[in-house]
Structures are given as structure tokens and as C-alpha cells.
């Protein structure tokens, strides 16, 4: 095992326990996991309880206290990956290494698991291996990856083309067509003044692009007005909603605009520090973003007297998440930034007054910040003049699934679903999931509806399902996603998401009953009414929508009985069949036999 100088590592992070998630990334990169003895030592060096560190390790999907393979493979398990054949490709790799899903091969070479959407839906199926992402998987690519792993070729020596991320931008508008020189937005904001910059943002009508649509100007104004000696600006780049990858495009090719937006925000609200919370599934963005921040520091746009503005001392650091969808919720994200389990806080108080380290904090989505930079330079009209009265500006959509041209499409708000489908070359479309699993499931008769906060809001996902697709399988994938990503804080979401996933799996595999359908609606109602945050509140929505809009797909799967016994004698023999490597007819019980 590689030895690790934990003392030096902790010292590099200033002995700061809020850096715990970043420290655990370093440990995992070196050792593949976080051994129990390391947890004990880290806790002692950081001055926190051992159980706290163990709890943080146990919370995040990308950390483990149990040994993992030297090559840790995670297949993206979004429905679009699944539709593109990810399960068969995963099985191919499992067979190649004779290992079970979620387990480590006996020689410790490889562990293979599934993970929630990795944000490469326009070029899936995708996987992560250690800290690298690979898209466009085919049987040939899987074969190549297996050979490289078997040969224990270090990742830096793998062929670079394996890691290529294609750029698929199909429609550009205000944001994607913008060209901004570094510092232009900040200079305009400085010329205008702090209060006027916020007023301009309010005038633009810009609403948060992460999904909830809170007015960005009001958020900045509240943070600026909150008392306190220090303030923070946080860029929410934890793009975890399955089917969404527009922030990936913005951070890969328009990062200057996003960082400009953060700098403008910091100037306007009086923040000294900025934090980018980047999801761990985008490891290919870390180095380019660090380089960009270094360039801006060298150009005097970050650091002391940023942009040449006396008294404006502002710098930005990058934090990498660790595989937890709930951290896209702004208060859970702040908990994670503080090195804790990502549990949404009780609100009020809101982050604008009590955010990072209990200080006033602006948390904005990547796309919101990009738009804010443009508003600072070009004025409110750049957003106000397009879109609809209640949804000003443009929206980046991540189009994936059954379309001829998947990729990024930027439209003015108010575009119809049908228009997007036509532009993307979708034919015989059965359904569209707008905004990801927590969004809105639309059937064909609703394709005249518009993408806008007042009609069909969207954080950016646009997943298309044609008539070949089984909507029960689609919704089952979503139900499993929510069960996997529930933080577990509150009863309704922790238990409800798992019960719902079990019922959906029963129905999808043909052993569900009418009672399951009734209970699904009941569980969804409990989650919606009583959950602590938006994850639980929306977890039942796709199931409820599918039951309403695609009921025949469910009914034809049900056994006609009201109740199907939970004990299935034939299923109970499955372990015996597996142990004896038999699956012939004689190894099964006849349906009709007692």
C-alpha cells in the first residue's frame, strides 16, 4: 500500500476540518479508499471526532472505508445510458473480470459499480475510472479498457482519445454566442457602482437557472444588505440532475464568463471569497478551471485589489464534490463545503444571511452567473429583451435520448417542447422528461407547452423517449435514482424513496400488483407533503405523472391479483441456482405447482 504523509496533507489544508471532503479526495486518489486507521488519524489531526470523519466518508458515493479496486470503474446509470446499452456493457466488463456488481475482484485489481448520471448523456453510455471520465462506450471500447486494466497500465498512459469529451452545441443564443474579454464585466460593474449593478440585475428579471427560479437580483440584494464582516459567493456547479450537462459546456468553453459573473457578484455584494462547488463527475474540468483562475490572478482580476479596484480583495477556490446529488440543494452544498455530510439545513435562516460559515452567502447556478456577467457588461436588456414576461432571457437545454442531434440548445424562454423536438430531429416521440427526474414528464398531447417558469420549468434537462421505450422502465430508473440519492435525514424521503423504488422494480419485473400501484400514489403523497427538502418533495412526481399519463404501460405489467405474496418460492431458489450455475427449466418451479 502506498504510504501517505497525513501530517503534511492536513497541514497543506491548514489543519482546517472544513477541508475534509477535499482531504478525503486526496486520500482516495492515493490509496483507493479511506482505511479505518486513516480515519482515526485524520480525526485526531483535524480536531474532530472520529465518528464525524467516518460519517462523512460514509455519506459520499465516491468515498469508501472498505478497500476498492486499484481501478475503480463506475458506469453512469442514467436512463439515457441505459437506453444506449450501458447495462449490457457493464455486464461485459463484470464477466471479463469475473466480479459482481458493486464488489472488488479477488486480486484487488478492479471494482465495478453503477453511479448516478455522470452528465455525458449526449455522448453516453459513459463511465468513470478512478478520476477520469470516458464517454461513447461501445463493446470495442469496453474491450480496450479491460485490456488496459488487466495490464495495470497507469491511467495517464491510457490513449488520450479514450477520454475525449465531444462538444455538441446545436443552437447558440445570447450566452453561447457571447464573446467577453476577461475583466469586461467587472469593469462595467465598477463603473456603474455596487447598488446600480444589483439594480441592473433586478431590472433584467434574471431568475435562478438551477430550477427553482428565485430572482437573482433579490438574492444579491439580500446578501449585500445582510450584516456581517465577511461574505461569500458560491458557484453551484454540482450539476447532478440526471439528463443535465449544460453546465459542463459552460465550464468547459465559457468558464471565463462564469468566473466573470462570480467576480461581478462579489464586487456587488462585497464578498471576499468565492467558492466553485464542482461535481466530482466532471474531473476533466478541474485542471482547466485551476488554470483559468491562475490566469485571472496573474492578470490582476483576482486577488488583492481585483480588477484594480482598491479595497476589492477577492479570490476563488475550487471545491470538488464527492457523488451526492442532494448537494445541488444550496444549503446541503454549503454543509458539504464546510466538510460535513450534505444534509439540507432548516430554513429560515437562508444562505443569503446565514450561509457558508454562517456568513451571508450568494449561491448561484453556473448559468445564472454567466448571464449576470453579460448583464453587467451589456445591461439588463440582454436578458430582459428575450424570453417571456415572467421568464426573461434564454435557457440552455441539455437534449438527450431518442433524438438525431443530442447536445446543447440555447433558446429564448417560451420555446415549445415541439420546437425543440423538431430541431433535435426527434421522431415518433412518446414522452419528454423536462428538468430531469425531479421535473415534469410530458406526453405527446402536451408537446405544445412551453419551457418557462410559468409553464414547464426546467433546470436544463430534456430527455426524449420514442415509442419503442418502456415508460415503466424509465420511471423505475428515476425511482432507483431518488432512493440512491436521498440523504436520509427525514423519514418520508429516506424510507419513501426506497419503498417506491421497490414497488417500481416489482412492477417492472412483472410481479407487481394493483396494491403496489395504489401504494405508490400513497407513498408519493407522503413524500410530497412531509419531506425536508425538494429532493423528497419531488421524488414521487415522475411516478405520479407516469401513472396518470402512461397507465396502460403499468396495467399490462400487473398480475391480476390485488395482492401478490412478497414471498416468491421460485425467486427464493435463485441463490441455489446461482451457486450451482444452473438456470435450466428443472431448476425452476412451475408457476402452477404448489
Amino acid at each position: 500500500m502506498t504510504t501517505l504523509d497525513l501530517a503534511a496533507m492536513v497541514q497543506r489544508h491548514g489543519g482546517d476540518a472544513t477541508r475534509l471532503v477535499q482531504i478525503l479526495h486526496e486520500v482516495t486518489a492515493a490509496l483507493g479508499y479511506v482505511p479505518p486507521a486513516t480515519i482515526t488519524e485524520l480525526a485526531a489531526r483535524l480536531g474532530v471526532s472520529r465518528a464525524h470523519v467516518e460519517g462523512v466518508v460514509g455519506f459520499y458515493s465516491f468515498f469508501s472505508a472498505a478497500p476498492q479496486g486499484r481501478f475503480r470503474v463506475r458506469f453512469s446509470d442514467n436512463i439515457t445510458d441505459q437506453m444506449a446499452g450501458s447495462h449490457a456493457l457493464c455486464q461485459r466488463m463484470l464477466d471479463a473480470f469475473r466480479v459482481e456488481l458493486g464488489e472488488v475482484s479477488r486480486d484487488g485489481l478492479v471494482s465495478i459499480a453503477r453511479t448516478s448520471c455522470t452528465g455525458l448523456c449526449d455522448q453516453g453510455p459513459a463511465l468513470l475510472v478512478n478520476d477520469r471520465a470516458i464517454a461513447r462506450l461501445t463493446p470495442q471500447r469496453i474491450g480496450a479498457i479491460c485490456s488496459l486494466i488487466r495490464g495495470e497500465v497507469p491511467l495517464p498512459q491510457w490513449p488520450e482519445n479514450l477520454f475525449a469529451i465531444h462538444r455538441l452545441v446545436e443552437r447558440r443564443d445570447r450566452i453561447l454566442a457571447a464573446v467577453m474579454q476577461p475583466g469586461e464585466g467587472l469593469a462595467a460593474a465598477v463603473a456603474r457602482g455596487k447598488a446600480a449593478t444589483i439594480a441592473e440585475l433586478e431590472r433584467s428579471g434574471l431568475r435562478g437557472r438551477g430550477g427553482a427560479g428565485f430572482p437573482a437580483g433579490a438574492k444579491w440584494a439580500a446578501c449585500a444588505a445582510a450584516p456581517g464582516p465577511e461574505r461569500y459567493v458560491v458557484c453551484n456547479a454540482d450539476e447532478g440532475e440526471p439528463g443535465t450537462f449544460k453546465d459542463r459546456e459552460l465550464l468547459m468553453h465559457h468558464a471565463e464568463l462564469v468566473i466573470e459573473g462570480m467576480t461581478v457578484a462579489a464586487f456587488a455584494v462585497g464578498a471576499q471569497r468565492g467558492l466553485v462547488y464542482l461535481r466530482a463527475e466532471y474531473p476533466f474540468l478541474v485542471a482547466p478551471l485551476e488554470e483559468l483562475l491562475a490566469r485571472r490572478r496573474a492578470a490582476g482580476l483576482l486577488g488583492r485589489a481585483a480588477g484594480g479596484v482598491a479595497g476589492f480583495d477577492f479570490d476563488i477556490e475550487l471545491h470538488v464534490g464527492a457523488g451526492a446529488y442532494v448537494c445541488g440543494e444550496e444549503s446541503a452544498l454549503i454543509e458539504s463545503l464546510e466538510g460535513k455530510r450534505g444534509i439540507p439545513r432548516n430554513r429560515p435562516p437562508y444562505p443569503v444571511t446565514h450561509g457558508y460559515r454562517q456568513r451571508p452567502t450568494v449561491v448561484n447556478n453556473v448559468e445564472t452567473l454567466a448571464a449576470a456577467a453579460l448583464i453587467a457588461r451589456d445591461g439588463a436588456g440582454v436578458v430582459r429583451d428575450v424570453g417571456t414576461p415572467k421568464s426573461a432571457g434564454t435557457k440552455l437545454l441539455s437534449v438527450s435520448g431518442d433524438v438525431a442531434r443530442p447536445g446543447i440548445y440555447e433558446y429564448p424562454f417560451g420555446v415549445t417542447v415541439r420546437q425543440v423536438l423538431d430541431d433535435a430531429g426527434a421522431v415518433a416521440t412518446q414522452a419528454v422528461q423536462v428538468g430531469g427526474p425531479s421535473g415534469t414528464l410530458l406526453a405527446a398531447r402536451e408537446f405544445g407547452r412551453r419551457i418557462a417558469f410559468e409553464d414547464v420549468p426546467s433546470a436544463g434537462a430534456f430527455m426524449v423517449f420514442d415509442q419503442r421505450r418502456d415508460m415503466v422502465a424509465v420511471v423505475e430508473n428515476f425511482a432507483r435514482f431518488f432512493a440512491h440519492e436521498s440523504c436520509g435525514f427525514c423519514t418520508p424521503c429516506r424510507v419513501g424513496t426506497t419503498l417506491a423504488a421497490q414497488m417500481m422494480t416489482r412492477i417492472a419485473t412483472g410481479v407487481g400488483s394493483r396494491r403496489d400501484v395504489k401504494d405508490l400514489a400513497r407513498v408519493a403523497g407522503v413524500m410530497k407533503a412531509a419531506s425536508h427538502c425538494g429532493l423528497g418533495a419531488t421524488a414521487g412526481a415522475p411516478v405520479v405523472a407516469a401513472l396518470e399519463k402512461f397507465r396502460p404501460a403499468f396495467d399490462q405489467r400487473l398480475r391480476s391479483l390485488d395482492v401478490v405474496p412478497t414471498f416468491d418460492l421460485d425467486l427464493a431458489l435463485a441463490p441455489a441456482r446461482e451457486a450451482t450455475a444452473r438456470d435450466d427449466q428443472a431448476a425452476h418451479l412451475d408457476e402452477e405447482s404448489p
Binding site: P36, A37, I39, T40, S49, R50, A51, H52, E54, G55, V57, G58, F59, Y60, S61, A324, R341, N346, A483, H484, E485, S486, C487, G488, F489, C490, T491, P492, R494, V495, G496, T497, T498, L499, Q502, D519, R522, V523, V526, A529, A530, S531, H532, T566
Partner: protein, 245 residues
């Protein structure tokens, strides 16, 4: 809140409930003798609102009453069929999640989960039980931890951290795999700083943290909620004799 200021009130199920600023809907209601079913709330600790059993409707919107500040003039619904159904489902969720076998449990009759279930008229757990594998920890000479009954209320965590200053308990895992852990590399309670005199020993609302060699000191039938329902005990009606402790 001087004697001179008029009492502030909100309305709950058609009755005026007086409160002092800083009280939650739940604490104000309990102080006024009006029971709202709850599990993870304890008067000595800051409410965190995880079990959601105390959910009420405030001006028509559902909120956990333990974390919602009482506000003058609010209209609160609590004792309605809809909310009783919601709470019943949440308690059924908890029964399905853990391994709860009341007849063989040392805490039966003095268990908050069981008491609330009776209060809500629960007759079955309804949902397919998950039957989690949760080995007990009998390593400590004086204390048994039976994780099968844990409802993740975090009271022992809060008591140990805030009151005992020891951090003996914490949570690990996520979602349905979330579970109670103890502060030791071995994972064994015997290797923690837990002492019998700790506050954390006394706050478990179910039968997870048990003193050894004290089984059935109070016979079943004479325990805390055997004399009076939990709704009466919780608002301060003293039972004839306190069961269990």
C-alpha cells in the same frame, strides 16, 4: 415578554394557543396541554425536524411543528384525518424500515414509537418490511446496543455531543443505508467513552440503548404508556408510577 405585554396566540384546531416568542408550534401546543404526535423532538435539545411525525398545516401548508416558530395569528391544523393519515404512514415507514418486534422488546410499554403508533391507531405496518441486517453490539460490559430498533432520531447523538461533550454517537451512510455508528475504530461501543451516567444513556425513545441486567424490572402492563396513552403523558399528566426507569 414582560407581564404587561398581552399574550400572543395562534389558533390550532379551533382553539387559541398562547405562546412566548421563541417557542415552536410544538412546544407551545404541548405547554398548552395540546398533544401533537412526535418522535425526534426532546424538550432539552434544539429541534431538528427529521422524523416529520409532528407535521401540521400552517395556513394550509404542511410544516414540521417542532422547527416552525409560533407566529401570532397563524391558523394551525393538527388533529385532522388527513394529518393523522400522514403521521400514520410515517410511523408505518419506520416500522417497515427497522426490525421492530414489540412483544419481545424490553422497551415495550415505555417505547415512544409504540406509543405513537397506538395513538395513531396503527394496526399493521402495511408496507413490506425491509428486514435490514443490523447486528447488535454487546461489547460494552454494562450497555447493549440493539440497532434493529433505531429510528434515527439522533437524540443520543445530540445528547452525547452537546450534554456529555463526548461525541460517542454519529451517523454514517446515506438514504436507507444511514445508520448509527459509535466513535471507535473498532466500531465497538466498549471502545468508546460512554459511561452509564451519560445523558445519552437516557434519551433513546425506543429500545436501542439498554442497560444490561435490567431486563423487565418493571413488568409489562405497568409501564409508562400502559397506564395512560402517550398523548396524556406527553402533555404532563403524570402517570400513577413511571414505568421502566
Amino acid at each position: 415578554m414582560t407581564d404587561a405585554s398581552p399574550p400572543q396566540t395562534f389558533q390550532m384546531d379551533g382553539h387559541d394557543v398562547a405562546f412566548t416568542p421563541g417557542q415552536s408550534i410544538l412546544t407551545a401546543a404541548l405547554a398548552a396541554g395540546r398533544y401533537i404526535p412526535h418522535l425526534c423532538f426532546h424538550p432539552e435539545f434544539t429541534a431538528h425536524g427529521s422524523c416529520k411525525v409532528c407535521t401540521v398545516k400552517v395556513n394550509g401548508q404542511p410544516h414540521a411543528s417542532c422547527t416552525t416558530p409560533a407566529r401570532s395569528g397563524d391558523v394551525v391544523e393538527s388533529d385532522t384525518d388527513e394529518l393523522t393519515q400522514l403521521r400514520l404512514n410515517l410511523v408505518q415507514f419506520l416500522f417497515a424500515e427497522g426490525n421492530h418486534f414489540c412483544p419481545s422488546c424490553e422497551k415495550s410499554g415505555a417505547c415512544t414509537l409504540q406509543g405513537v403508533a397506538y395513538e395513531l391507531g396503527m394496526t399493521t405496518e402495511h408496507y413490506s418490511p425491509l428486514f435490514p441486517d443490523r447486528p447488535v453490539d454487546a461489547s460494552h460490559p454494562d450497555v447493549l446496543l440493539d440497532f434493529n430498533r433505531c429510528i434515527l432520531c439522533e437524540l443520543c447523538i445530540r445528547a452525547s455531543a452537546i450534554h456529555d461533550q463526548k461525541h460517542v454517537f454519529a451517523l454514517s451512510g446515506r438514504g436507507i443505508t444511514k445508520h448509527l455508528i459509535v466513535n471507535a475504530e473498532s466500531g465497538r461501543l466498549a471502545d468508546t467513552a460512554l459511561a452509564l451516567s451519560d445523558k445519552a444513556m437516557t434519551v433513546c425513545p425506543v429500545g436501542v440503548i439498554l442497560r444490561k441486567r435490567q431486563g423487565f424490572a418493571v413488568p409489562i402492563g405497568e409501564r409508562r404508556y400502559d397506564h395512560q396513552p402517550i398523548s396524556a403523558v406527553a402533555v404532563g399528566h403524570r402517570p400513577k408510577e413511571d414505568g421502566h426507569e
